[in-house]
Symmetry: D2
Subunit: 449 residues, 4 copies
């Protein structure tokens, strides 16, 4: 969780709400209501109990200070929460309290409440990533042919297109959405096992109560309680971290392209965005920074979750507790990363002229590979590579265009005409399969496959 | 990777072999051979080139010292490797060298070789986890009804069965196997993109060469090169870490049950296992320790992989390199964890008498929940809880069995007969749905659902 | 930072207050006040400006909602904060606003405010660790001779004393306190550099203003601004994590000794502590769990801090932001761990009789090393080891005391008398240097060295 | 540890040697020799034993295959190692074997051997960092006045000097060296405690033997054995990680300055360095990449070390083992980072003309802060900021120099003359305290303070 002063950066209002104290208490109440109802159906609670518990489902009865105070001795908030709930229900009808929490243990209500919160959170992430996917598709299509330098090791290389660069992010985003879906199917299940996972208090009707409880909460029922098997919760945090990583790669590239010395794109957001208090000329990549910040915190959250898997026997001693804020923080950081990524993707301003100018400023040197490839079949790759290395060095020294150097090099013109050289210097003619790859990703050109 | 002195602990011989330097070079050669063959098919290599490259596929020509020396300047081993390969091929037929590595970049051969190694590694893990699954199924079935204390917070609670405890691990293991399968489908794909991911050198036939290359290596072809989108490699390491986490939870529980003061199970391995150099009586849980050690290193590997996702533009600057040893180390640690887990699961010695004795030594106190539950409908839960708390305190003080205390407490006997109390003190009668859960996991009792 | 519902576990009220939003804003105000005063002294602010800024130092003028809204565009809260401060000051005297924040950049106020908060936080930690040190010293002295089984690999071994076990924690705690002191000396320094770290706006008086600013805040002035060199902040989090690790080792051992089957110590806290909602007999190690939970989250925080060191050029893009909540969370977790550790150390209940009973229940087997050592000089170590291994196996099979077995073994009695064997079976006679080590740590016996 | 194929990147030959299997075995032998000698001095070993053990100190007798095989059962290599040592000594004189390893446990020899290796490793790091410090001092002094754009958020800002940028790294490096020294003083101590840390086997002479052992190994003796208190080992890895982080910040900045579009510096290394197999024009920042790669792996190592602090009771179960390769890997990565950083710092090529050209290409916009500061006292900061924001926007639109725009703006010229504007546009006049800071760091100008 984040300091309130930094919530603008590390969460979104919607995700903050889902994991707010009040929403956690409400989710816990939904569990307690459904349990009472399931017990009532099986004659383990007095008729009318569920109605009374349902009337308390907004959890407004909770005294937060007392909860904290008592939780310090209890080791979790569920014990004082149930005590307060029982008192609130007793004020309405004492008989309703007899079956409150019956058969359940603290971890049942806390884990199942987390699942209910995660279900809302996953839906939020799904909506945001769908919107981001659409925005990226638009940009990929719009910039299918927008040429800029490919860059490896932060050094300019042969040309690529902005569309291809963004198509990589688009493909990764789709895989991440698949992973979130798979993880959700595994993780969004009921937890209900009682003290040690046997539902012993419920005797022979444990299975039936569990099934009804799952039905009322609209959750899948697992084969057996999973309270000390945390792999599904771990997976959920991992897929959020991976998505955030894919977004951060995108944001990092955009921020690099936004450098003053590059200037090929910019975050096209509000006029207030990215200004400096002291430097009137500044236009900071604020959204990119937010995505990168979210990503920087994620590996630590995943590490905590993996470490917390060793929960002893039928309930862990400290490791379950280590998860409590970790899962919400992962969802919030991912939501922030997604929200800022949407702003980047939807508002991206592209300066294609600057891309061309930057490419031209490299004096054709990034086309050296193309010329090498053209020469190689005639004189061999190593000799070709050597010739070009020298020509490039001369172009750099003399600050002249590589094409000019080549046209004046007898070693080259013996094999390539001036027209050949012109053509080899044209980045549009050296995009290889870039557009074909894009069309595959967009599904625009099945015939190309 | 591990120091050779610790390979007994942190890997298995089979997995060490798969990620050995020689196997990596062989995988790189398989890529170079298949590329030459694909180029030859499309008339971009001299006829016969592939045959010559194929003759070098064992990579015995490599001079490892020179490779290291030159890699220091090149930034990776692929550049000097291709140089050495070219020289070795030239010694057979100079024409064969013309198309070596043509169209490819260093990352293509290194990434695709990694994929080929990972394919073997995943198969190994799959075999080991299948064997482990079978062993666990046997143990779950054998100990479906073997009663021991459930333990929460490392404190004894109501009874459960060893079968249910192990069924949790079994269910987690199956989910982990599913995750590895999904991750493999995404990750085991060809990487082939050339300098910046456009296959520009190959002009219009890039797609065709790529398809043939994938066919020859029996790898799926992705929609577009993935060299700077590392999500699938990250996912692979994550699922290995999760599996190792589930195994470590299992190992940790076994080690706790093996404590001198508990003594309920033991690693049933060779007579040499776990002896101490100075303490003749010791029987150390060596296999458990190995699994826990493997797990302890995993979060750091996952953190490194997640952090490495921010690879700049068309090739990263340092972050791709950070993956090189991380992926092999994750596979090796996971393989070690699986191998030691198999030893534990197959050889587990269970001392059911000690389990019963330990349970009995608790003087019936862990059955207090059962008595509370029986009293609650008659006198209310809070009063019942209070009565039992006092009876438990008295049993502890007087070191007498809770059943005896209860039978002599008028507050209790007003509601429960001596026979009732006997029955409530019987752990076999207080297993709730434990066996039903087990049958679900084993698929032994569909009718129970 | 933590969800408010879990603050009972993951922080203390005092540390939560130090890093509360309001205290952060107050620390920012102290910086802005001191800066104005320093500027005024050097005639860069209108006379009286500092008095007006000082009147706003409680930061009550801040509109938190507006701050969040504007921070989203600004990328940090300092920009809108300065805007709101300027407006508030203008309401009193427009002239006072002219020099507000002059010469400073957002990072100057945020970093220096963090340093001010850290200074308070370190003082809190220092007080708590001093109290913990005293409590541990008391326990070490009280249990200098309290014998219990030494345990390696969770298997019982030769005897040690509870005092020696706790002395290890005491020594580590002292080292951790030293580390925190060293880290504080490096980290608690002013940050003041302006836009790019040159104090250019202040021309030739930058140095003088900086010195006065440091004097007013009672902070050391560094040789040069450190805004993109984060090693000192990283170190601070690292030493907190190490301290938490040492405390968690302590808590883990206590929790293991508290197991139902061991029962040698217990958290001697309030009668409410550790009770279960459903299991009247339970006494959970709640404080131990809290310390372990705090530790489980720490490695991830350190990883985030280390990762965030790569802040680009004169201000990072996303990585500085990643620190904002990480540093406060580390202090809060450490404070929680220290507070719970104090409860454990001060209230620890020791059941020396149970320790003896547990040791005796091992049937003398853990003394086998002593007998081996006594035999070795006479018959060689390997033969002695073999003899004892057999005797131990027989003792275990027959459930008889090792001493009895040995007294009836002619191989043994040929070398050791019954009296010898009795003596070798006495744990009090086999403590080696344990008490000497303790006396060194306590400084009770300088003569022993 | 690293795969041999990647040792060029992830270690140095010298550090690889220190942590090689053979050097570890030799360090273990040094411990065993010194122990025998100490025992012999106290009449616990036969006269002449130490001489015989000393003759085996090269550890050539070790059968590595057998060691691995037996370690799998033993859980560590020390047990089979001592067995092999005993056999080798017996071949010379059986009596010499009687006291081999007497009083020690496996962890004593493994931990103390690690300390001996770390002592060599720290010395290596110290030498490398001293050389790096000297190289940085030279560069700071040489480029005290070399102007380039300050950059925040990867956006150009007011000028700074290359000297100031590098002085930040220099100051951090010195702090890191201090930390390594402090950590070494704490960590480079003997471990000798026997089975459970009491030296019980040695009876009353444990202290004396321990003191002599420490003297022979030239190691400090701690107050008590530290085998389960791992804080000092953790600290060592943490300070290596921090140093690597400071180096990576340096490398990252250099790599950013090396970008094709920036081109202000380059790694001035061998002509082979950084070439591409397919792109003749490339000059990759290979050394920078290596430093960044080393850093990317460090947080995971620190996380593993912190996690491993929870070693149970008198010897951990799996967590000690998790350290074995982690510590050597940290030293190797740090050594690689230091070695590559030396190459960068010593060979750095600086293109001051390009720095000036890049600065000029920004059309004076980065000087807007200076103009704002000059205007503010006359018209107020907010109006000044607004005026400059508009002027900057116009300069950007019209692609004209900000100075020209300002000179033609009546709002500006009402307050500033053409000469004023010229002066305000001069970066040399806007360096504030940059040089003063540098002189402080270099100690060149004490009078300036």
């Amino acid at each position: 969780m984040h300091n309130d002063l930094n919530s603008f950066l590390l969460s979104t209002p919607e995700m903050t709400r889902i994991f707010s104290p009040h929403e956690q208490l409400r989710a816990m109440m939904r569990f307690e209501w459904a349990l009472t109802a399931a017990l009532e159906k099986h004659a383990l609670a007095e008729p009318g109990s569920a109605t009374i518990v349902e009337s308390l489902v907004d959890a407004n009865f909770v005294d937060l200070d007392a909860l904290q105070r008592e939780a310090r001795d209890a080791g979790n908030i569920a014990i004082p929460f149930v005590r307060q709930l029982t008192a609130a229900a007793a004020a309405r009808d004492e008989r309703a309290t007899r079956a409150i929490h019956l058969g359940a243990t603290s971890q049942d209500v806390l884990d199942s409440a987390l699942v209910l919160q995660m279900r809302d959170a996953v839906e939020l992430i799904d909506g945001d990533t769908a919107r981001l996917e659409a925005a990226l598709e638009n940009q990929v299509r719009a910039h299918r042919d927008t040429i800029l330098a490919g860059r490896t090791w932060l050094q300019a290389g042969p040309p690529t297109t902005l569309g291809l660069k963004l198509a990589g992010t688009l493909a990764a985003l789709r895989r991440c959405r698949d992973r979130i879906r798979s993880a959700s199917q595994r993780a969004l299940v009921l937890q209900f096992g009682g003290a040690v996972g046997t539902l012993a208090v419920l005797g022979s009707v444990g299975g039936a109560v569990s099934a009804e409880l799952a039905r009322l909460l609209d959750l899948r029922e697992p084969d057996l309680p999973w309270h000390t098997q945390r792999d599904c919760i771990v997976e959920m945090v991992q897929v959020l971290a991976t998505l955030t990583g894919s977004l951060a790669k995108f944001a990092r590239d955009i921020a690099l392209l936004m450098q003053s010395e590059v200037g090929e794109v910019s975050e096209g957001t509000s006029s207030e965005r990215g200004g400096s208090s002291t430097m009137p000329h500044k236009h900071n990549p604020v959204a990119c920074a937010a995505v990168i910040a979210a990503h920087a915190k994620m590996p630590g959250l995943v590490a905590a979750m993996l470490r917390a898997m060793l929960q002893e026997h039928e309930r862990g001693l400290g490791l379950w507790q280590a998860e409590w804020d970790t899962v919400p923080e992962a969802f919030q950081l991912c939501a922030a990363a997604a929200a800022y990524s949407i702003e980047i993707a939807e508002g991206l301003k592209v300066d294609a002229a600057r891309m061309k100018a930057n490419f031209d400023a490299l004096l054709g040197m990034t086309m050296s590979e193309a010329v090498t490839a053209a020469l190689a079949p005639q004189i061999g790759r190593a000799p070709a590579h050597d010739l070009l290395r020298k020509a490039v060095a001369r172009a750099a020294d003399e600050k002249r265009h590589l094409g000019d150097i080549l046209k004046q090099s007898p070693d080259i013109t013996a094999h390539l005409s001036g027209g050949d050289i012109e053509r080899l210097m044209d980045p549009r003619a050296y995009l290889g399969s870039a557009q074909q790859f894009i069309d595959r990703v967009l599904g625009d050109a099945d015939a190309n496959r």
